[in-house]
Structure formats: C-alpha cells, structure tokens
C-alpha cells in the first residue's frame, strides 16, 4: 500500500477526528448490544432453548403490540398511565416547592418537622397504597396520590437542602442592599436553586412513574400497571413484557424531555 498524498492533519483536526471516532464507537456498541439481545432472544425462542410462552420473544412482542393496538385500547392504557404520572409529577414539584419554601422561611418549622420527614421518606410507600384505596376508593385519585407519595418526601428534603446550600454571603448581600427575607428568597435562593430543582425533577419523574404503576397494580381498571397484572393473571406473558417495554420507552421519554428543558434553561442562563 502506498502512502496517500494527503497533507498532514493539524493537531486540532486530529483531536476532532478522535473525538468523532470515540462517539461513533459508543453509538455503534450501544446499537450492537440492542440487536445482539434481540437476535439472541429471538433465536433462543425459535430453537427452543427457552419457552417462549413464559419468556416471550421479540416477534411475539411485536405481534402482541400490533394486536393490542387494533383490538384492545393500548393507546388508552398508555395514555392513562402517562396522564396520571404527569399529574402526580407536577403536583409533587408544586407541593414540595411550597413546603420546602415554608421550611426555609421558618427554622422552627424545619427543626420541628425534620424527624417526621426522615421517617416518611424512608418508609416503603407501597405500604401506604392499601390505605389510599380505603380512603380514596379505586379511582384515578388514589393512583395519583400513590404516585405522589413515592416522590414527595425525598423531593422536599432535596429541595430544602438545596435552598440551604445557597451561599450565605449572597443572602448577606441582599440584606446589605436593604432587602428583606422574602427578597433573599426570590432574588437569590430560588434562582440559585434552579439546578437543584432540575435534578430533583429528573429523579421525581421516574419515582412518580414507579408510584403510579404500584397504584395501578392494586387499584385500577386501566393503565399499564393494570395491563401487567391482568396479563400475568391470565398467563398472557407477551402482554406483560410488551407493557414493560412500553414502560421503558416512557421512562426514557420523560428523562429526555426533562433533559431538553434543562438544556434550554442552561442555554438561556448560560450556566
């Protein structure tokens, strides 16, 4: 092989080339794993290494998905789960912002409530679900509350911690300029906590989904959680696995959505 006549690359061009190569490699390996799993799964099912009645297979999942689209109202189930998750997520963000603000305003309140928050946060929230059913019935209300219960206490704690970590000298600055405590909150603490708020949101959207699915397991006639329970009861494991895969996609979608908002805000505030 003869050496090409191409001019030597500059260090900068080399750097960019290496950078791109690295990214292509990562993307390639990710795709490879995805297809390898698909092929392995499908062939194990076809060759009889696993029983596709219990373990399903990619082709059965696609078939099930298309059937469900036609006959059953899959879109309705997905829509219900999405709706419940988004509502409970928004309520979690709103409530935890309000409560964390109250805790920040009053040291008394935060000191008094601290042990209760810690206990409620470490309590397995699924234990509360039966209570919600008794109190609120088996409707959407129960499921939204179940979704909130999983995320809210952790959210309050991390927002409040974020509020407290704002540089105290910046708050002093507000006082030296003649501001009051509410100015310190609205001009420093709240805008300074936007990164905390975003990372809390990222965690909470996932937790809200967990809570909603738990709720649907126990108290729903609609939604992906219901579909999973129903599928396992009638031994339609294709339906169960299809629902789980849709859940994966929903979780990914939510995460990407928050990431997009985060990116927008970072650009806007050049953070």
């Amino acid at each position: 092989m003869t050496k090409t006549q191409k001019p030597e690359l500059t260090k900068q061009e080399q750097f960019i080339r290496n950078h791109l190569r690295h990214h292509h490699q990562i993307a390639f390996l990710r795709t490879l794993i995805f297809f390898a799993v698909l092929v392995l799964w499908e062939s194990s099912a076809t060759l009889g290494w696993i029983d596709s009645f219990f373990f399903s297979s990619p082709s059965r999942i696609v078939r099930c998905f298309l059937e469900q689209l036609k006959t059953n109202s899959l879109i309705m189930h997905v829509g219900i789960t999405l709706y419940e998750t988004i509502i409970s997520f928004l309520l979690v963000i709103l409530c935890s912002l309000l409560i964390a603000t109250a805790l920040w305003y009053s040291n008394h309140l935060s000191e008094v409530l601290e042990p209760y928050l810690v206990i409620l946060n470490s309590l397995p929230k699924s234990a509360l679900a039966p209570l919600f059913i008794v109190w609120l019935g088996t409707g959407m209300k129960t499921i939204i509350v179940a979704g909130m219960s999983v995320a809210i206490f952790g959210s309050i704690i991390s927002l409040y911690t974020g509020f407290q970590q704002v540089d105290s000298e910046k708050i002093t600055l507000i006082y030296t300029l003649g501001g009051k405590k509410r100015d310190a909150f609205f001009k420093v603490v709240l805008p300074g906590s936007v990164p905390t708020l975003l990372s809390t949101a990222k965690v909470n959207i996932g937790l809200a989904l967990v809570g909603v699915i738990i709720g649907e397991f126990l108290a729903a006639k609609r939604g992906l959680g219901y579909l999973i329970i129903y599928g396992s009861q009638v031994f339609q494991l294709d339906m169960v696995i299809t629902s789980i895969i849709i859940l994966c996609l929903i979780a990914l979608g939510f995460y990407k959505f928050i990431q997009l908002i985060e990116h927008r805000i970072r650009i806007k505030f050049k953070m």
């Binding site: 002093t172 600055l173 030296t176 300029l177 003649g178 300074g192 936007v194 050049k270």
Partner: protein, 259 residues
C-alpha cells in the same frame, strides 16, 4: 473637619453553649466626611463584626454610634457595603445585577437608572451591560459590584476585604482603581484589610485592632509623598517603609495574638 460617625465604647460577644466569645471590647473611633479609614488587625479579631455593626446588620451589646451629619440632620448615613466576593448573580445580566439594589428599594425610576447608565459609561462597562458576569474580567466584576453599591447613592462605603479573592497582580490594580473611583465620588469609606501595604496605600488613616477581643491599639494617620498615581506609587513612597514597620510592630507585639 467634624466626625460624621462616631463609635463610642462598642462591645460585642458571640454566644454559644460552650460559652461567650468576646469579639469587640470598648471600640471607639470617629470617621470624618470624605475620609478613607482602613481597619487592620490579625485574622479573626472581629473586624468583620465591627463592620456589620456599623452597617446595622448587627446590634452592639454595649456602646453607641453617634451620627453627626454636616447638614445637622440626624438620620443614619446610607450605607454601601462591598463584600469579599463580587457576588454578581449569574442568572442576571451585568446591568440587572447593578440595578438589584434599586429593585429591592422599588426605585427603578428614570433618574436612578440614569445614574447607573452614567456610571456604566464612566467605568467603561457599557458594552458589557447585557453580558453575563462570568464574561467579565476580575477587575470589571469589581467595577460592576461598585456600580451596584453606588446605585443606591450611599454616603458611607464599607468594604470588607473586597479584593481578597483576586490574585496578587489583579489585586494591586483593582484596589487602587476602585479606591480612585470612590475618591472621585467624594464619599467616606471604611475598608477592612489584613494586607498592611494595601491599607497604607489606600487609606488616610489606619486603625489597628488587637487580637480577640479586639481593642483599638493604635491610630496612624497616613500621608505619603506620591510621584504618580500608579498602584505601585504609594509602595515606593519614602514614608511607606516606616509606616509598614510601625504597623508590623503593632500587629506582632500583641499579647492577645497567637502567632
């Protein structure tokens, strides 16, 4: 000239469950109008506490501060306070950082904003008004912080080691730059520093505090023969070394200071 502000026997202690820590003990001194006073002392001696008391952020346990305005009025002078860091908010533009004080006082009126615009122009920051603070150099950030302070038209400026976060070279330029700008406004200034040469080169009078609990150890008037107005001019003045040695003496021969 008369003292516009006079501290009389100011004492202050911090309290905790482990006991009482006396920070200031019987501090008395006066500040004349238009004067630059530097307060030096060993670290942790309560300099910042003293400044917070003058600013009204802390209430002294004992002692009084007398106000003596030239026009005979009795209102406490409006205070401008500059902290150790510029604390410009990254989520605001440079301009909106400068108008923060006016915003807090609900004074975003055309005449107040005109002052901000004039200072922006004068301090060469006009083309950075819509930028973010992180795009400014260290010196420009300090100028921006100064505009934020001056926008409220304070009569007395308090500077709490305002240049200590800067590297040495920048610090030499910025400290003389900022103090020159403040001199132009004719305002009174009290600056805290632990840098003796900074105190000598910037102030008209230096008040030396002892270690905790702080008492006034000495008051030294500064008058330097200056050849030009470069940051190094004061340090090259013939009187500089002598003053420095006296301050050094005062600071190190202190039974309260552990070195």
């Amino acid at each position: 000239m008369q003292n516009i502000l006079e501290l009389r026997n100011i004492s202050y202690s911090y309290h905790s469950l482990h006991g009482e820590t006396k920070a200031l003990s019987n501090i008395s001194f006066g500040v004349r109008e238009g004067e630059f006073v530097a307060i030096v002392g060993p670290s942790g001696c309560g300099k910042s506490t003293l400044l917070s008391i003058i600013a009204g952020l802390l209430v002294p346990e004992q002692g009084t501060i007398l106000v003596n305005n030239p026009d005979g009025s009795l209102h406490y002078p409006r205070i401008g306070y500059m902290l150790q860091h510029d604390h410009l908010f990254e989520w605001r533009t440079v301009y909106r950082n400068m108008t923060l004080g006016l915003e807090l006082h609900h004074q975003l009126t055309p005449e107040h904003l005109a002052l901000v615009d004039r200072l922006l122009e004068q301090y060469g920051l006009n083309k950075f008004r819509d930028k973010r603070p992180s795009e400014l150099s260290g010196g420009m950030k300090q100028r921006a912080a100064l505009i934020r302070t001056l926008a409220l038209e304070p009569q007395l400026l308090l500077l709490d080691e305002p240049f200590s976060a800067l590297d040495y070279q920048t610090r030499l330029f910025v400290s003389s730059d900022i103090c020159r700008l403040i001199r132009q406004t004719g305002k009174t200034m009290i600056i805290i520093t632990h840098d003796l040469s900074e105190a000598i080169s910037l102030a008209d009078r230096i008040i030396v505090l002892s270690g905790r609990p702080a008492v006034v150890k000495n008051e030294l008037p500064v008058s330097l023969t200056l050849t030009d107005d470069s940051p190094l001019a004061a340090r090259n003045a013939p009187e500089f070394q002598q003053l420095f040695n006296r301050l050094w003496e005062d600071m190190t021969h202190d039974k309260n200071t552990k070195t």
